[in-house]
């Protein structure tokens, strides 16, 4: 039945492919093209300037700082977020004390916890950022209020302190992304056959061993895609939104929280240098692709069938 196979496939793929090319590939190509121009973004005339934008970028301290922070976010956040999410998901699904009649169960109240963890996902990221901005307000914020009530008089400035600002941003990012991965991993764990756990139980394995010998290896594919997804969030949209709304400036005291997408935004929409902004965008594209490639390579394992 080879007859018309290609026509069939192409027929079905032509619409999504066209959309993908028009709305994804084509803007990418355009951005790369504009990064060789001096386009301001405020008028239709511009000229080619060769590699000027790129040499300017390599000499730009703020670019290097943004790159450093973006890479830090991309490395640390997935580690912390996925680690927490795995732990929570395991406790919710497998980590409970064994009750009668069930080989595995979650901790008591796991149904409530699942909703509580997922709740930040429901809120818009902008609202999360604004709420945390209030919480971290050094004078009237809840966090310093609590610290003072407990007897700390020397409370930090949080976002106003270059040593702390980026860590505050990261904490907020962890808070609002963990829930999604808890739910994702819970779904993955639900598909692991119960017999494995029962066998481990009969052999007298501890929760710890069960997790590292059974749960994690069987979840590995999910963890890997989650890793890439989280890294892209940290490099892109979520990282930008939180920094843009919460941080001093925005960009932090003494550039301590500036990230690549923020710098793209500022160059394009504040400084009227759309050409330079696309250049930084190209750098961001390279970083993101490199990140995804590294994660895919490092995380490669043989697939387990179950």
């Amino acid at each position: 039945m080879q007859h018309g196979k290609y026509r069939f496939i192409v027929g079905f793929l032509v619409v999504p492919m066209t959309l993908y090319v028009i709305f994804v590939i084509w803007p990418f190509i355009q951005s790369i093209y504009y990064s060789f121009t001096d386009w301001t973004g405020l008028s239709p005339d511009f000229k080619m300037v060769g590699f000027d934008n790129y040499t300017k970028m390599l000499d730009d301290d703020v670019f290097w700082k943004s790159l450093q922070h973006s890479v830090l976010l991309a490395v640390l956040l997935p580690l912390v977020t996925l680690g927490l999410a795995l732990f929570f998901a395991f406790m919710l699904n497998v980590g409970g004390r064994r009750r009668k009649g069930a080989a595995i169960s979650g901790v008591r109240g796991s149904g409530f916890y699942k909703i509580a963890y997922f709740f930040p996902q429901v809120l818009s990221i902008a609202i999360v950022a604004i709420l945390f901005q209030f919480a971290f307000d050094p004078a009237q914020g809840m966090i310093n209020g609590t610290l003072k009530a407990v007897g700390f008089n020397d409370v930090p400035d949080w976002l106003g302190d270059p040593q702390l600002a980026l860590w505050v941003i990261m904490a907020v990012l962890v808070w609002c992304t963990t829930g999604f991965f808890v739910v994702l991993f819970s779904a993955g764990m639900a598909s692991i056959p119960k017999d494995f756990y029962e066998a481990a139980l009969l052999d007298g394995a501890s929760r710890f061993t069960t997790f590292f010998r059974i749960t994690l290896p069987l979840l590995w594919d999910t963890v890997q895609s989650g890793w890439v997804y989280m890294g892209i969030l940290a490099l892109g949209a979520e990282g930008f939104a939180i920094v843009h709304i919460m941080s001093v400036g925005p960009g932090g005291p003494d550039y301590s929280t500036t990230v690549l997408p923020l710098y793209v935004y500022q160059s394009a929409f504040r400084d009227g240098q759309a050409g330079y902004a696309t250049t930084i965008g190209v750098a961001l594209l390279l970083v993101t692709l490199a990140f995804a490639a590294i994660v895919m390579r490092v995380g490669r394992r043989e697939r387990l069938e179950f």
Binding site: Y6, V248, F269, G272
Partner: protein, 481 residues
């Protein structure tokens, strides 16, 4: 099946080849064509509306039946004043269809239209998303408003519009020689804002020199009140009182040199003296605790509730914090205190200048209509409506008689009277937004006022930023005339 096509995937038949190359073409064609394509469309500027009949009533030759489009920034001043003026235009030209819209996101909304060559006829280019004026001027996107300035004014046809404006408004609209690209409609008084009532409670008057300022802060500190606060999240509020302070110490030419990005401009002794005076507030712990982490509403809120005496700000603060400034607050603005007797300019020297920059794009269809709308806004009646609804002065020189002035406005008018000709007008925030806000504001002054950097290294840092801006060929540079 003919023998020309392959039955399985081992060989590659002619048809498959065609199909595959078609698939490749799907991707390749656009990549080839982008070399000749250009997304930021071509613009033709010959679709302007026809001019109308020039007459005494209609000195700008407005075409009364042509549509007009106005886009207003919806911020601290609201939009009522602009809508009032729009109503006047509609009454004058009943056949004209006027499209009026307000937004907070000026750049997001209008950027595509500038790129497409179809901008509206009048724009209030203001707010956080202001389009960079330097770029707009440099790229010839704006109309020269000289015809408007030379037109007879609405109230008195014997007077030109330019003769009815407050000092400095016309100069502010000039970037590179004679043409006037921008009409600043509001008139802002910057300075040190405080509550007269709070000072009275401390048996004090506004300190006219720096020693008194420090003494008053010490007195307030004993009562548990901080001397100063400022928007730590946006430290570029500090220059509102710091720049006129520098001018007062060393003369306004120091600020001109700074605006002109002259090498070593920041190394002038007056700058050092002013920075050191402000740093003393930090060193002696007269700044409200937590200030570096406060945004503008947070710091203004703390100040309005009496947690701090002074805040560097502009006259919009009265409207912005109207909800929380107490009735008996007696809002006032002070000029920078004298540093010592060798100051070049007298006490009362203040920064006052235009705000709310209105522009008429050069590619607008109805340029005359846009200018006519501005002419209407600069009449006494419109100016009064603006002042009444916003508690702010307008560019029209006058328009305060017969309306009840609020405390802050009264104090602003008094401060202007006291200043006389000693009004300074630093331009850094109009010419080099990034340098002023991000580099001088957040990265340098913000760090100094948080106590993390000394004045000497701050000045060095700022000078380096200014030099880099002067060297950067991708930025258009401007000079004081």
């Amino acid at each position: 099946m003919g023998s020309t096509s392959a039955h399985n995937n081992e060989g590659l038949g002619r048809r498959d080849l065609i199909k595959r190359s078609a698939a490749l073409g799907l991707i390749a064609v656009p990549t080839m064509s982008f070399l000749s394509a250009c997304a930021s469309g071509d613009s033709s500027s010959d679709d302007k509306v026809e001019k109308g009949e020039k007459s005494d009533k209609n000195p700008l030759a407005v075409n009364g039946s042509a549509p007009l489009e106005i886009v207003i920034f919806d911020g601290g001043f609201g939009t009522k004043y602009a809508e009032d003026a729009k109503a006047v235009y509609e009454k004058t030209y009943p056949e004209a269809k006027v499209k009026f819209s307000a937004t907070q996101k000026i750049q997001s909304v209008l950027q595509p239209r500038f790129n497409g060559g179809t901008p509206p006829d009048l724009i209030d280019n203001s707010g956080a998303q202001q389009m960079d004026m330097g770029v707009l001027v440099g790229k010839k996107q704006l109309t020269d408003l000289t015809p408007l300035l030379d037109a007879p004014s609405i109230d008195d046809p014997a007077k030109k519009v330019r003769d009815t404006l407050r000092p400095g408004i016309v100069e502010m609209g000039q970037f590179d020689g004679d043409p006037v690209w921008i009409m600043y409609y509001a008139y802002t008084v910057y300075g040190v804002w405080y509550s007269q009532t709070a000072l009275e409670k401390l048996d004090a008057t506004y300190p006219e020199n720096w020693d008194d300022m420090l003494a008053l802060c010490a007195k307030a500190k004993k009562q548990g009140i901080a001397g100063w606060t400022y928007p730590g999240k946006h430290p570029y509020y500090l220059p509102f009182s710091l720049y006129p302070f520098i001018a007062k110490i060393g003369g306004s030419e120091v600020l001109d040199a700074i605006d002109n990005l002259e090498p070593k401009a920041w190394e002038h002794p007056a700058v050092k003296a002013a920075f050191e005076a402000y740093y003393e507030l930090v060193a002696k712990d007269y700044i409200l605790k937590g200030t570096p982490g406060l945004d503008h509403r947070g710091s203004q809120g703390a100040w309005a509730r009496g947690k701090a005496l002074f805040i560097p700000n502009g006259s919009w603060v009265e409207n912005e914090e109207a909800a929380i400034i107490p009735k008996d607050f007696k809002l006032s603005v002070g000029a920078p205190s004298s540093l010592d007797s060798s100051d070049k300019m007298p006490f009362g020297t203040i920064w006052a200048s235009g705000g709310e920059p209105f522009i008429v794009p050069s590619k607008a269809k109805n340029v005359e209509g846009g200018m006519e709308q501005l002419r209407i806004m600069l009449s006494e009646a419109s100016s009064k409506s603006f002042t009444a609804s916003t508690k702010s002065l307008s560019a029209f020189n006058g328009g305060t008689d017969g309306i009840e002035l609020s405390d802050g406005l009264k104090s602003g008018v008094a401060a202007l009277e006291k200043a006389g000709t000693n009004v300074v007008n630093p331009r850094l925030q109009d010419w080099y937004v990034k340098l002023q806000k991000e580099q001088i504001g957040v990265a340098a002054l913000g760090e100094m006022m948080a106590g993390r950097a000394k004045p000497a290294e701050t000045i060095k840092k700022i000078q380096a930023f200014a030099d880099a801006t002067a060297k950067d060929q991708s930025i258009k540079h401007f000079k004081h005339q």
